[in-house]
Structure formats: C-alpha cells, structure tokens
Assembly symmetry: D2
Homo-oligomer: 141 residues x 4
C-alpha cells in the first residue's frame, strides 16, 4: 500500500548548470518546496505560520540522496513524499522524483522540530495536531 | 596521518533562511565551491577548463550529509576535503566544515567523471593526470 | 487596454532572508520563471528548446527594478508581463508582481536574442515566429 | 578623485547557466556580498550584527543594472563600490564589476536602513557611526 503526498515541480533555468543539467543542490531546494507543499496541503498547517509566528523550525539534520539520472531544463518532475519514521521530535522522510517513470532522485531526509531561539536551536516534540496528520503519510510496507 | 585540502568559506546573507541559519541546500553549494578550489589549487587543473573546453563534467551521484550544529551569518567555515575512495570513474570525497573546532557539517559525496554529450551523460575513466594528483589527498587511516 | 501574460508564483523558504523577507535577487529568479512560462504558454515556443537545441539565448542586458513593499514567506505573487518595446534583437519587458492589489515589485528588463557560440555571444534578429507572437503582448496605452 | 571600496569575487559553477554564462540574478547575489564585505572591512560594522542583534536591515528599494559583457566560469571579477548619494535613511551605491579592464556589470542600487519589526519594515535614520564611515566612500567627481 502506498500512502504518499504527491506534487510536481518544473526544472527551471535557475536550476541548471553549464552542463545543461540540474545542479544537485537545486534538488534539495525543490524537495524543500515539496515539504512546504506537504505542510500546507497535506498536513493542513502552513510552514510559514510555524516559522514566522510560532518560531518553530524544521532544520534538516541528516540527508542521503542518490541522483540516478540527469534532469534537464523544463522537465516536469513528479514528486512523492512519505514518512518513513515518526520519532518524538524527528521525522524521517522519503522523497522521490520521477520523470516518465524514470527515478531521477531519491532523498532520505531527517528533519527535527526545533524552537528557534535567537541564540540556540533546541529540539521539541512534534506538535500533536501535526503528528496526527503525519501518520496519514506513513510508509507501510 | 591526515592529507587534506583545506580552505575557508564565509556564511553569506544569501545562504541564510528566515530562521537566521544557513539553509542546508546552501551547504552543498559551498562544498561544490570547495571542490572547485580543490581542482584549481589542489589538483592543478581548472574545473572550468574540464567543463567548458573538454566537455567533461563531474556530476554527483550520491551524497550523504550530517548537519550537526547550526551555522550563522558571517561565520567563517573551515573546510577540509579528502579522497576516501578512488575508483575508475568515480571519486568518493569526505568534506567537513568546522567553526571554532565544532564540526558543523560532514558530507560524503561521490562524483563521477562523465562526458557531457548534448543528449547523454556517460561515465569515463578519470584522466591520468588528475588521478595522479588526487592520490595526494587520499585519506590514510 | 491591457494585454498581458498573467501567472502566479509563491514566495518559498529558499527566497527569504534572515529578515523574513524575500531577498531581492530572488525576485529576478522569479521574474525569469515568468519569462520561461511566457515563452511556453504565451508564445508557444519553449525556452528550453531555444537554449538547448537551437543554442539561442536571451541574456538580460539592462534591468531596472523598484521594490515597493516587502513580500513574505508563502505569499502568492500575481505576475503580469507585457512587452513595452519590440526591437530588432531586443525586447523590453514590463513585469509587475502584486499581492492583494498591492504592487510589490516592478521590473523593466531588456533581453536580447543571441547566438550562443562557445567563445562569443552575438545578437541576432528575433525569429519571425516568436516576434509575431510577442506582438500579442505589446502594451498599448 | 576616486574613493572606492575594492574587492574581488570569483564566478562559480553555481552562478552559471546552461549557456555557460553567469545568470544575471547571481550578479545581485555577488554585489550583495560586496556590500557585506564593505560593511565589515570598509565601514568597520558587521552587517550580521546589524541584522541579527540590532534587527536593522538594509533592504534594496531600487536597482538599475547594465550587463555589458558576459562573464564566464572561474573568471575573477574586480569590484568597486562607491556611495553616490547619502540620504537620511537611504544610500545610493554605484557598484561595478570589471574583468581585465572590461566593464562587465554596473549596478546603481538604493538601500534603505530599516527597522525589522515582525509585521512591518520601517525606514530609520542611518546610525551616526555608520554615516560617518560611509562619507569616506562618497564618489567625488
């Protein structure tokens, strides 16, 4: 059974390098956009409200990515996002980008809910309301 | 024994997010700058000459990164780059960023020497001259 | 009479700075996305096809921009693009971004159709088919 | 008489587009780095301290730029920054980038000292200490 958040992103001129291919740090910008979309449309809780009003951030502490085939200007990437593991403060995500059924990029990423004090970044439990919503995207194998 | 390429990078306004911290995709931009510096100053072979004149690229096929402590605006990051494994076409790098002896970010990254044909990206053996220079940066444990 | 290409863009986390506002170079990335959308959806000619297959670029030679009010994370910007002047090789664009009827940013930008030779960038006449389409977006006052 | 702040920036892989040229929004990232260097090394007042500790920002409200010749991967750009006009809250800067005596890019940019309240951005007088230092970089013709 697959229980994923799905969206698409277009490879833009700004993402491409002199080789004409997407420059790999841009994949992480795109996958963060997918996470932002997931918060808003999948979890029903805007990421901007968390960061700006509640001063709660979701810094990435670990990421592992495979880039399996090159992506090119104006291609549309089909993204799926799933929750692999739901911890107390941390969430392990699996994010994949396909184009025409070809897997282009797979990212496993751990984000940690954190209080954004000016001088410090402290982990905190995932707010209950958000945790409940996240369970709908747990990967079941 | 440590045999590393060493350089520094400054955390710029453009790297920082609304939380006031470096946004993690920017770490990969900075580590690519470290790789560019390494080619030019460590290996004696400009990355621009490879890409533009010889149409040889070094796309990243795998990356694993841990972000251990937050980096902030205008901090100077001390980078070390070492070769962990030297394959036929691929090179596994270990790139670390410290600030005041605190490890901020560790990246293990596999790049693959590739011919940049307009329609295809094909792996190719590492040019001999570059391979010889790379051996000077092999991590010996 | 207004004859404009219209689209929307979302202010993303990657666009915002430590002040929580959009960092102004990102406005130019967004307006370039608007130009890309215009080529594809407004002019019926993919920008990627121009650049990659025909080696025709549209470098910007002049830009003048006013940033009239701050834009914030997750706001949706409503873009309008119009042609102010259609030259032999050059096109002067007027691009505006509004949010809730407030003008956030106005950009006047001159792009020049150019042949992308490896060692040189030479201006060239706007291809006829594209020029014809562009006339539909001429600003009439 | 010329009274300018001078520094250099390298064109990086991340700045270049599929045409192999610097993508023009990156020029504005580079010129902001020049402004950051000017605050620290020219005015003796860190931009980070302003933004993070004093919550004073310097948003750009107007910019006019000419891109006169293409810049390419790994070229070193020689930057000069001068103050054209010193207002009560605003500063008009003239920033130029040369390579081998060829003018690549000229930017006229107005920044405004502003208090960064969470909900608002209000202009404020330039702090006296900074104003005094800025006078050393006034363009005298």
């Amino acid at each position: 059974m697959i229980n994923a958040f799905i969206t698409t992103k277009t490879v833009r001129f700004e993402h491409c390098d002199p080789a004409g291919l997407i420059f790999y740090p841009r994949y992480f910008q795109l996958s963060h956009q997918v996470i932002e979309d997931w918060f808003k449309d999948g979890l029903g809780h805007s990421h901007a409200d968390l960061v700006v009003n509640q001063r709660i951030g979701i810094p990435t502490v670990h990421v592992e990515a495979s880039f399996l085939a090159a992506s090119r200007l104006e291609e549309i990437l089909e993204y799926t996002l799933q929750v692999e593991k739901l911890g107390n403060s941390s969430v392990k995500l699996n994010i994949e980008a396909h184009h025409n059924n070809e897997l282009r990029c797979q990212i496993k990423q751990v984000i940690v809910f954190s209080q954004l004090d000016p001088q410090d970044v402290k982990s905190m439990p995932i707010p209950d309301e958000i945790r409940t919503q996240m369970q709908n995207f747990l990967r079941i194998e």
